[in-house]
């Protein structure tokens, strides 16, 4: 009955097998070519690939995890923090991001840091030493979405505070998660206010969410107080 109608009017008929192949399968073959790309080599400065969308700044992903049972020290902090990779374009950002586990799925006491290339995610870094950060404490389950929104706003230059932004951190803790965004000048109230307002907007936060600004000097001091004599020499 339907045989005639089944006959297709043109050659558009193909239910090609390759239609079922997902994009990533195809890409695997190409990834070997990428190794020849000098730009992905570690020590060199990354540049956007051809046809990619360049970012205003290059950024670096970092990861840190506190080893249980060992006292935290400035030394061990720097040892525990690991550079994941740097990128210069939107496409390169997604390459890293897509291959990283979402913060909400991280285990233990872990942090992801995303900082402008050349700025270490440490209070002591030159760019950070007179700066501070906005802190938002999140109940469990929200970190992945908020982190993504935060870094997309940062990469897309949505904060409109010139060169003030240094980076962002998501900290996975036992009962809560914390996201924060760091800026250079803690004393610049116009800038910090602007960052706060943008955060509220891009994270789509409920109005009653508590946002706290903390200067790094205060953080260092609190850390020293907490650790007492252990690390009197300063640092963290």
């Amino acid at each position: 009955m339907n045989n005639k109608f089944d006959a297709l009017k043109d050659d558009d008929s193909g239910d090609h097998d390759q239609d079922n192949v997902s994009p990533k399968d195809c890409e695997k073959e190409k990834s070997e070519d990428e190794e020849k790309d000098p730009n992905t080599a570690k020590k060199k400065t990354v540049v956007p690939g051809a046809g990619e969308h360049p970012l205003q700044y290059n950024y670096t992903f970092w990861y840190s995890r506190r080893t249980p049972g060992r006292p935290a020290s400035s030394q061990s902090y720097e040892q525990n923090i690991k550079q994941i990779g740097s990128f210069a374009s939107v496409e390169q950002f997604w390459r890293f991001y897509s291959h990283m586990i979402r913060p909400g799925d991280l285990t233990g006491h872990s942090d992801f840091h995303l900082f402008k290339e050349g700025i270490k995610p440490m209070w002591e870094d030159d760019a950070n030493k007179s700066g501070g950060k906005w802190i938002i404490r999140l109940r469990k389950g929200l970190a992945s979405r908020c982190w993504e929104n935060l870094i997309l706003a940062m990469l897309g230059e949505q904060f409109m505070v010139g060169e003030e932004i240094c980076g962002a951190v998501v900290s996975v803790r036992f009962q809560e998660d914390i996201i924060s965004i760091w800026n250079k000048t803690a004393s610049d109230q116009a800038t910090t206010a602007r960052i706060r307002d943008t955060l509220r907007r891009v994270l789509n936060l409920p109005p009653n969410t508590i946002m706290e600004y903390k200067t790094h000097t205060d953080s260092i001091k609190a850390w020293e107080d907490f650790h007492g004599l252990v690390n009197a020499s300063g640092g963290r």
């Binding site: 005639k4 009017k9 558009d12 239910d15 994009p23 586990i101 706003a153």
Partner: protein
């Protein structure tokens, strides 16, 4: 006994001959295929002619009652036609006998036996006596008749009351209806050119003339005076404050495709498939209706450029043509009347996109922006009209591709509308063409309702041309429909990087949406070679189909558009339950061609304050036909309709744009 047996043999034959003598089978075919083929109810009417009158008398009361009973049985839905038929038959009666012998043979052996029998029968009926010798040819003919017009033959048993009385065929089962399969046999009996018969039933009566003048398709005037009067008429709302125009969309069947798929046109006679014949028919269709905007699909490049376009140009049209990509020889065209429109912009869309796996077919679309002009108003009194036409993929199994193609077309339309809005102007939209999808299925619903949750739908269902629900593992649609790298959002908008506009801070700014659209671009799916593998930290695999809990779920599985589309056709023959058909080949006819228009929305505030808000008003259309109607014309293409699609023609009213 012999007498009654011969009567049994000859009486039906007399039927066969009278009905074979053109009028009945022919007329019945013309009205409705079912009348002739499914019930077989009409042939007995042939007895109205003088030759069978004697038989009727002889049959007596039984015959009449049975015949009446039959009429009611047959008549339920077709009563008017049958009655009319009967009248016709009465008129034709006197000549019918002669015509039976004039029939031009297409199958010589039948006709010769018909003729032979014709004489035999006349002798028989006259004398009511017969010899055994005469009966043999009659019986032989009966076999033929049975073969070629089974229902006519069989049905006659019932109408022959003598049989029951005589008890000869007591075992003959009483049959209440006969199904006769559609086939060539019956049509072959119809030798006479059918246009000699006047139109039937709901078609408007035409004056008798030697030429074929039957208006098969009627113009449906949809001006509703009531609604017009309920709208407060202001003084300046006179005739010149509305702009009326007609739009035709017509898939004219590319000759190359016709020749490449002969199996679809097996039912057609050779001569209706010849291009020169079809070209004449196509031009006649255009010249008859003179649409102000003409959208063509399957316009073959060489034929269009060399033959159609010059004539259309002479007729005052400006033509925009886009050939399909690849090696396809056909394409789409939009032609508009120069005296009514000025072209503001044109976009020739190729629906093949290298960046998208789904968009790998050579279909095209045209999106035009036209400014209506009138003699008095060269200014911008009327809002511009965006006219889009396309011919989507045919493959019934690949609704996913059709939907993706449609999204591309709608996105282009949306951008045209948006551009108008940035210039402070409204814009009306007409989308027409061959969408290769049937009414009320997902693709259609997406157009008319403005949104579609496609995630998980089987691909065949999108167009609904065929029911493939028996497939155990059908291809399904998954979100996102289009790769984000294509730069088209779920609401049919082009996603543009805001970096194109230099921002005051001179920074490379990207919106959240723009960044997201690059998420699964090719580069992003490749693992960076310098990325250290830390289990539980950097061992994620990007999956474009992964659920995205971070954004609204609805947004990811649903596409939408903001064009308020309405179909100019209702997809059912007005007043009948039969679906309209815009295309027909082989043995299935469906609606796949459409004219959608941005509809006038009526805002009702309270009981009295009715306000019409922009939009086009549909004021008329050219009626379509049902599948049965078309089969009665031996399918498509035929002598009247030169393509395997019918043209669609609608008339719209555009109110003068309100002063701002």
């Amino acid at each position: 006994m012999l007498g009654s047996f011969l009567y049994y043999a000859l009486y039906p034959l007399s039927r066969v001959i009278t009905s074979g003598s053109e009028s009945l089978v022919k007329a019945a075919l013309l009205i409705n295929r079912k009348v002739a083929w499914d019930t077989g109810g009409t042939p007995p009417l042939g007895l109205a002619n003088p030759n069978s009158l004697l038989l009727n008398l002889w049959a007596g009361e039984n015959y009449l009652t049975q015949r009446n009973a039959e009429k009611t049985e047959v008549g339920e839905s077709k009563c008017p036609e049958v009655m009319e038929l009967e009248k016709k038959t009465d008129e034709i009666g006197p000549q019918a006998g002669d015509k039976a012998q004039e029939v031009v043979p297409s199958k010589p052996h039948i006709v010769s036996s018909q003729v032979a029998l014709g004489t035999t029968r006349q002798e028989n009926t006259g004398e009511k006596q017969n010899s055994g010798v005469q009966a043999y040819p009659a019986l032989e003919l009966e076999t033929h008749a049975h073969f070629y017009s089974g229902d006519v033959q069989e049905r006659s048993y019932m109408d022959y009351p003598v049989l029951d009385q005589g008890g000869v065929f007591e075992t003959q089962p009483k049959v209440h209806g006969w199904h006769f399969p559609a086939g060539h046999g019956l049509a072959d009996m119809v030798h006479q050119p059918y246009w000699q018969f006047p139109s039937m039933s709901y078609y408007p009566a035409q004056q008798a003339s030697t030429e074929f003048k039957v208006m098969w398709r009627v113009w449906e005037d949809l001006h509703d005076t009531e609604a017009e009067t309920s709208v407060p008429q202001t003084a300046d709302q006179s005739a010149d404050s509305v702009f009326e125009f007609t739009v035709m969309t017509y898939n004219i069947l590319a000759q190359d495709l016709l020749e490449a798929n002969p199996e679809l046109y097996m039912h057609c006679s050779e001569k209706v498939l010849v291009w020169s014949t079809r070209l004449k028919g196509i031009l006649q269709e255009i010249q008859t209706w003179q649409p102000d905007i003409l959208c063509l699909q399957e316009a073959q490049e060489n034929n269009f450029k060399r033959q159609l376009q010059p004539i259309l140009t002479d007729m005052g049209y400006t033509c925009v043509y886009k050939q399909r990509t690849g090696s396809k020889s056909d394409g789409c065209a939009v032609c508009y009347q120069n005296r009514h429109f000025v072209q503001l912009s044109v976009n020739l869309l190729e629906l093949r996109q290298e960046r998208c796996e789904l968009l790998d077919r050579d279909n095209v679309a045209i999106v035009l922006l036209l400014q209506p002009v009138t003699a008095e108003y060269q200014d911008e009194k009327f809002t511009p009209i965006c006219v889009a036409t396309t011919h989507l993929l045919f493959n019934p199994r690949r609704g996913d591709i059709k939907l993706a193609q449609l999204v591309l077309v709608l996105t282009e339309i949306e951008s045209v509308v948006r551009r108008c809005k940035t210039m402070g102007r409204e814009c009306e939209v007409i989308l027409c063409g061959d969408l290769n999808s049937v009414p009320n299925m997902p693709l259609y619903q997406f157009i008319t309702t403005g949104q579609l949750c496609y995630h998980g739908l089987p691909a065949w269902m999108i167009s609904g041309q065929e029911d493939l629900s028996h497939q155990t593992h059908p291809r399904r649609l998954y979100a996102p429909l289009l790769p984000i790298s294509l730069g088209i959002s779920d609401n049919c908008q082009y996603v543009t990087a805001s970096k194109s506009e230099p921002s005051p801070s001179d920074k490379l700014k990207y919106s959240h949406d723009f960044l997201l659209h690059l998420r699964y671009c090719k580069v992003a799916c490749m693992r960076p070679t310098d990325l250290e593998l830390i289990p539980g930290v950097t061992d994620n695999t990007p999956d474009p189909h992964e659920k995205q809990p971070y954004t609204q779920r609805l947004r990811n599985t649903t596409i939408c558009h903001s064009l308020n589309f309405k179909s100019a056709y209702s997809h059912f023959i007005p007043g009948k339950d039969r679906p309209e058909v815009t295309t027909l080949h082989s043995n299935a006819g469906v609606t796949v061609d459409y004219i959608f228009y941005s509809a006038r929305t009526e805002h009702t505030r309270g009981q009295t304050d009715k306000r019409l808000d922009g939009g086009l008003k549909l004021v008329g259309r050219l009626g379509l036909l049902s599948e049965a109607d078309l089969w009665s014309l031996r399918g498509l293409p035929n002598e009247i309709f030169p393509s395997d699609h019918l043209s669609l023609l609608a008339k719209f009213q555009l109110p003068a744009s309100s002063p701002r």
